[in-house]
């Protein structure tokens, strides 16, 4: 430490000078640095910590951690919950800080900080500059004009609005129950910014897809009472008519109560999910299946989140390890089932976005 101190004293003018040079370099830096890879949001350590953003570059298979800090020059905030790319912008939802950072996705140039939110969870681009944000704190979907951070509309939902799915002019919002219970999906007409219908599904829906037949699949996480397991309610998977909400089929998870992360590929004929959001394994299921799959794609994944890259059908599985140190992300080829890579990312990786 003493050596470091004297080095610091001796080199401080030089370091300051170098810092300025770096700034100049940044100003004339290359464009489109982040357009062939994966953004990974890392929630960050419990209490007083800050979450981070990682970038996995598919070109050279390299990982850059703390991307927001290095590009924007300050920490992201507390519990970086999710990331979403829409219309050239990357929306970074910082849950416990109550903000959404908006950056130009390819170059990571900071555009705007959307404030005034309470407990934001996910963002969904609606149209140019217009973004929908689910907020657990107010049980609403906030429609925001991201160009000036102004509110366009605030639409009440059920408890714990979570992921959204945009299908034509309809925005489906899964009400995950927050810290309690819900079993609905609310439908919002984005032309009028009004809730127009409610679909009833299993306990605590958290994620949705539309399959090749146009059916709406809703994955429900169930309810877990950590203090009294006798109050647990099982997870389930629902298939519904996306227009009417009529239930076409249901699948019960039984003893695996916390499935999460339903996602699908570009042809929408297979879907993927984790059987347990606290250390589960990834499963694959056909849209024509009549029962839940019994064999995981890989075991021992300790999965916390998954995401499917629609460009190459690589499945990304987030492993939070011990929730207190660097997390891992496993990259898997869903076609061959081969594990392609293991990435060391930030603390508690929790969401993926592909750019």
């Amino acid at each position: 430490m003493r050596i470091k101190l004297w080095l610091l004293i001796g080199l401080s003018p030089m370091l300051l000078s170098c810092s300025n040079d770096d700034d100049d370099d940044d100003d004339s830096g290359s464009d489109d640095k982040y357009n062939n890879g994966v953004f990974i949001s890392n929630e960050g350590p419990f209490q007083g910590g800050n979450g981070t953003l990682s970038w996995y570059d598919l070109s050279d298979k390299s990982v850059t951690n703390d991307l927001f800090l290095s590009e924007v020059g300050r920490p992201l905030g507390n519990v970086v919950h999710s990331v979403h790319v829409f219309d050239e912008y990357l929306y970074i939802v910082v849950n416990n800080s109550g903000v959404v950072e908006v950056v130009e996705a390819d170059e990571m140039e900071h555009e705007m900080t959307i404030t005034g939110l309470t407990n934001p969870r996910y963002a969904q681009g609606i149209s140019e500059d217009i973004v929908a944000i689910t907020d657990w704190g107010t049980n609403t979907v906030e429609i925001i004009n991201a160009s000036n951070s102004s509110g366009v509309a605030s639409i009440s939902t059920g408890n714990g609005p979570e992921r959204m799915l945009l299908n034509g002019n309809t925005l489906y919002v899964a009400n995950s129950g927050g810290f309690g219970l819900d079993s609905t999906v609310v439908l919002i007409d984005i032309t009028s910014n009004a809730a127009v219908d409610t679909f009833y599904v299993g306990y605590n829906p958290n994620s949705m897809i539309i399959d090749a037949n146009g059916a709406l699949w809703v994955l429900c996480g169930g309810y877990t009472d950590w203090g009294d397991p006798s109050n647990n309610l099982p997870g389930s998977l629902y298939r519904l008519n996306a227009t009417t909400g009529a239930v076409q089929d249901t699948f019960q998870f039984g003893d695996a109560p916390r499935p999460t992360g339903l996602c699908t590929g570009p042809v929408q004929q297979e879907m993927y999910f984790l059987d347990n959001g606290y250390g589960g394994n990834p499963y694959r299921m056909s849209y024509t299946a009549t029962e839940l799959p019994s064999t995981p794609m890989v075991t021992g994944a300790n999965g916390y989140a998954i995401g499917l890259d629609p460009r190459n059908l690589d499945l990304y599985i987030a492993d939070p390890v011990d929730y207190a140190s660097q997390g891992k992300v496993y990259r898997m080829d869903v076609v061959s089932g081969a594990m392609l890579d293991t990435l060391n990312v930030g603390i508690i990786p929790g969401n993926f976005e592909f750019n």
Binding site: M1, N65, P75, R258, Q326
Partner: protein, 622 residues
């Protein structure tokens, strides 16, 4: 610019760090270390008295930062503050009030911010499992009664800080031939709405950090021929806001109330060839935490009984034996009502074959659900020509806390106790030249802990498990110089501690903590203090340097707390009129306006002014 400022501060601190106050202003901290009071300490070189700064600090959390081997992890002034020493965790370091353990039976640790700085403090810098039982792995902090003169002394003390804190303390004491009484009532409150800069560069005032602490304690003592009876009561009521970290949304956080009561009675009797000490004590805490997300109630009750018997075979040889019993009960929203009993016994043989030499050795066995292995201790001391040396080997242990055992969900009733061993070497040399005194001290230690209890993720919640083997090695060096220069008396102290505490092995596959420094344990810490007295004037300055502090088990640099220096300084003037005296002081905390964090993203105040006034009446009886 910011970097240059830090360098300037560091350079100045290294060259002229300080602390000081007129000795006649200090509430003199004299420790009664008679054999009757502290037989178990046995003049241990590791035991030192902490210089309390009643003029500058309002609680033990602030006072104890002047000790270089200690790191206080604090969420802010008046907020939860826990102590760790030599890399041992807060629940591996014990705090006692007249022998009553203050560590929460549920949490296992002590919140130092709830303890006003009105007691004398003994610091035991090393392990003492044989002497004190469970938890005494990284040492202990012992709160005792400050010495008071004969007759009445009544004192009113008032503090104000520009960061938004008021403190008032009333003390009344009387010392007679046989009886002695001391009562303290202190009241600390304030909005604590000091300014800080948030992650977005916006200057804000701290929101929801207000606190209100009402504390009262009483100590009584009756001395008779060959014996002593003492008793005491402590009650406190704290209501405080728990602000969010600066990385969270700018809204009020949670609230926490703490109601505590402690009481003890001790009887010490001395015969021709024996000492007998009996102590009974009780502990009650009611802690309630409420936020928008979670509400938790924690109620804990404990009672302790201990008997120490010393038999003097001769002037050279004595045997100290000890039996102790503890009952602990806890209930709350996160645990079902549960209780646990603990019983332990220890014996230590002390041998003084020559006036320059002391040898001691002994052991202990304790039982709480499971029985510990034999906990041995051996020690040798030598003292001559102003030199003192001590070498000791001590094993130690810690039983799981009630939260470890009974928390819902995750409590693990099958936990084994942590078990460790520490070897220490201490060296001191005292030099005198005319009225100048110089005392040099150095020490080194090496320690290991097996069955280290850690809360680890198991699905959706965390569960405590015996997962790690941890090593801590370190050394400290320092000096104290007392130098009269004509009418000015000056004292200068400086200490440096190095601590390397790492995880050696883990039961968890791929544990990222292996080989890394433990969190919230700086490798480097240095403290210095200068005091000057001239006539009725006094000046003090204190400085502390904190090396880098890691906050994650894999030691990610980006999440570490950067090194910083904190400097406090002040000046005082004493006024006297017959039996009354008054001391007025003005000071400045965090003189250099450094960014100070003891917990990541929980800022401490920047530069702040302080004013204090103490008015004292002394009856001067003889």
């Amino acid at each position: 610019m910011k970097g240059n400022r830090k360098l300037h501060i560091i350079s100045c601190a290294l060259l002229c760090t300080t602390s000081l106050l007129a000795q006649n202003e200090l509430e003199t901290v004299t420790i009664i270390s008679s054999r009757l009071q502290h037989a178990l300490f046995n003049e241990d070189m590791r035991v030192d008295s902490l210089e309390i700064r009643p003029y500058a600090d309002v609680n033990l959390s602030e006072s104890i930062r002047s000790e270089s081997s200690i790191y206080v992890r604090s969420y802010g002034p008046g907020l939860a503050s826990t102590v760790s020493r030599h890399g041992f965790s807060p629940s591996q370091s014990m705090v006692y009030w007249y022998g009553v353990p203050l560590n929460s039976p549920a949490l296992g640790l002590t919140d130092l911010s709830t303890i006003p700085s009105s007691s004398a403090v003994l610091l035991d810098g090393g392990a003492g499992g044989t002497l004190f039982g469970s938890g005494y792995m990284g040492g202990g902090i012992h709160l005792e009664n400050p010495s008071v003169p004969m007759g009445w002394r009544i004192e009113e003390h008032f503090d104000y800080r520009t960061s938004g804190l008021y403190n008032q303390r009333f003390t009344a004491s009387h010392k007679g031939e046989k009886f002695r009484h001391r009562a303290v009532i202190s009241n600390t409150r304030g909005p604590q709405d000091y300014l800080y800069t948030d992650l977005y560069g916006v200057e804000r005032s701290r929101l929801g950090a207000d606190q209100s602490l009402l504390h009262a304690e009483y100590y009584g003592q009756y001395t008779y021929s060959g014996g002593l009876v003492s008793w005491g009561v402590w009650v406190s009521d704290m209501d405080r806001g728990i602000p969010r970290s600066i990385s969270e949304s700018y809204t009020e956080g949670a609230r926490q109330t703490d109601e505590n009561a402690r009481a003890f009675i001790k009887w010490n009797q001395r015969g021709d060839r024996w000492d007998l000490k009996v102590r009974l004590s009780g502990y009650y805490e009611d802690q309630r935490y409420t936020s928008t997300v979670i509400s938790d109630t924690n109620i804990a009750v404990a009672s302790y009984a201990q008997t120490d018997f010393t038999w003097y075979f001769s002037d050279e040889l004595k045997l100290i034996s000890s039996l102790d019993y503890a009952y602990q009960y806890v209930k709350g929203t996160s645990k079902n009502p549960s209780n646990i009993n603990r019983i332990g016994g220890a014996a230590i043989l002390v041998y003084n074959p020559h006036k320059d030499w002391t040898f001691s050795g002994g052991g202990r066995v304790d039982h709480q659900n499971t029985t510990t292995p034999f906990i041995p201790t051996v020690e040798a001391k030598w003292s001559k020509y102003g030199w003192s040396a001590q070498v000791d080997y001590r094993s130690h242990f810690r039983f799981p806390t009630l939260n470890d055992l009974f928390w819902t969900p995750g409590g693990n009733p099958n936990l084994k106790p942590e078990f460790g061993r520490t070897t220490e070497l201490l060296l001191a040399k005292r030099l005198n030249y005319n009225r100048t005194q110089l005392e040099l001290k150095a020490s080194a230690f090496t320690a290991q802990i097996d069955n280290y209890i850690q809360w680890v993720p198991t699905g959706g919640f965390f569960e405590p498990q015996n997962v790690r083997r941890v090593a801590s090695n370190g050394a400290s060096a320092g000096f104290e110089l007392s130098l009269p220069i004509q009418a000015v008396t000056m004292s200068f102290t400086s200490n440096y501690s190095f601590t390397r505490a790492t995880v050696l092995e883990s039961e968890r596959t791929g544990d990222p903590a292996i080989g890394n420094q433990l969190i919230y344990t700086p490798q480097h810490k240095a403290t210095s203090g200068l005091k000057l007295n001239f006539a009725s004037w006094s000046f003090y300055a204190d400085a502390q340097y904190y090396g880098e502090v890691h906050t994650t088990s894999d030691n990610q640099e980006v999440l570490a707390i950067d090194p910083f220096v904190n400097v406090d300084a002040g000046i005082g003037k004493r006024f006297e009129y017959k039996k009354f005296s008054a001391i007025a002081r003005v000071g400045c905390r965090n003189v250099t306006n450094s960014e100070v964090y003891f917990q990541r993203f929980y800022p401490m105040p920047g530069i702040q002014g302080t004013f204090s006034l103490t008015i004292q009446f002394q009856s001067n009886e003889n």
